[in-house]
Symmetry: C2
Subunit: 200 residues, 2 copies
């Protein structure tokens, strides 16, 4: 994708290439560490040109995070065939692998979104909604989750639990293997949704 | 508690009284809004005296948040008698009521802790650990939760789910009643822990 940096690209292609680079740099760095200077150096272009493409550091960060969120959503798209729980497992596996591979950037986004950066929060919330909403769209028969207000609330809770489980596990696996973690995350969705029948 | 503000108090009692006031003011305010000026005005003392007691605004905020966390932990102590799930329900009910009653302050603490205020994060994490750890201490027979690394990870996830459920529900209940919410939160703990047996 970036093997031919000297190739003549259209402005849109060049912008896209810079965003790809930003996403790659963000994998092992926090947003704070992703400076315009670093990007200009890595891309081999001037700071001025970067500002020309993105306007400001904040706008560049937003564009990179939106690009990364699109990647996450694309990479975790469940297969259209197969048993519901197998499809969920494939999607959850991709999510866990994504967070492991992009840990620094992911954590810094969660931090920025939770800490009050409103535009990054909006991008984060949109991505969360897309990931959660997909559980309903891909499951018209309600095989895993019925589409009710209480179920939507529970799915939001399960999603927060999943993020906490994955981030805690990356910090300290406590001997829990990746396969065990995946099993816990996948099985906990029907388990949690199951309380809709039994809970008061 | 504050009906006799003119009473002569020891410095420790006075400090305690100021912290109680801070916690009350924080119920319907964010940490940012809890200024030294406001507190001085509400307490009827000078700013200088407040700095004398606490040293700095940050130190005062930390002391208030620690005081509030202690209140939360005390108020949600499960009863020592009764069925495990009933004891859990009593504790969860107190937690939900606490978050409802102290919503502004609670949300601002979550935000500050997640957003990178390291000392507030430490207080928040300590409170979380105390609340989560209690689930194991009060349950020596492992009636609800066995004490294993995977179970501890799941309880941490359940705790994040609970916070998300309660805060989302306060923002928009979507027709889910308080009783239904309590039922969902309580029933989801054994449900989630149940996957330890079935999950791969």
């Amino acid at each position: 994708m970036t093997t031919a940096p000297r190739t003549r690209l259209s402005p849109a292609e060049r912008r896209e290439q810079l965003l790809d680079l930003g996403v790659r740099l963000l994998a092992h760095r926090s947003l704070d560490e992703l400076s315009i200077d670093l990007l200009a150096e890595e891309a081999g272009i001037s700071r001025g040109l970067l500002y020309h493409y993105f306007g400001s550091k904040q706008a560049f960060h937003e564009a990179v995070v939106r690009h990364a969120a699109d990647d996450l959503i694309a990479q975790t798209t469940p297969p259209t065939d197969g048993e519901p729980l197998e499809r969920l497992r494939t999607s959850v596996t991709a999510y866990v692998d994504y967070v492991v591979a992009n840990h620094e950037g992911y954590v810094s986004l969660v931090k920025a979104a939770a800490g009050g950066n409103e535009s990054l929060r909006a991008i984060y919330e949109d991505a969360r909604s897309a990931l959660n909403g997909r559980l309903f769209h891909g499951d018209d028969a309600g095989e895993i989750v019925p589409d009710t207000p209480a179920a939507r609330l529970l799915v939001q809770g399960w999603s927060a639990m999943t993020e906490e489980l994955v981030l805690s596990w990356i910090d300290d696996s406590r001997g829990v293997t990746r396969e065990e973690l995946l099993g816990l995350v996948v099985a906990s969705l029907p388990a949690v949704v199951g309380v809709l029948g039994t809970g008061r």
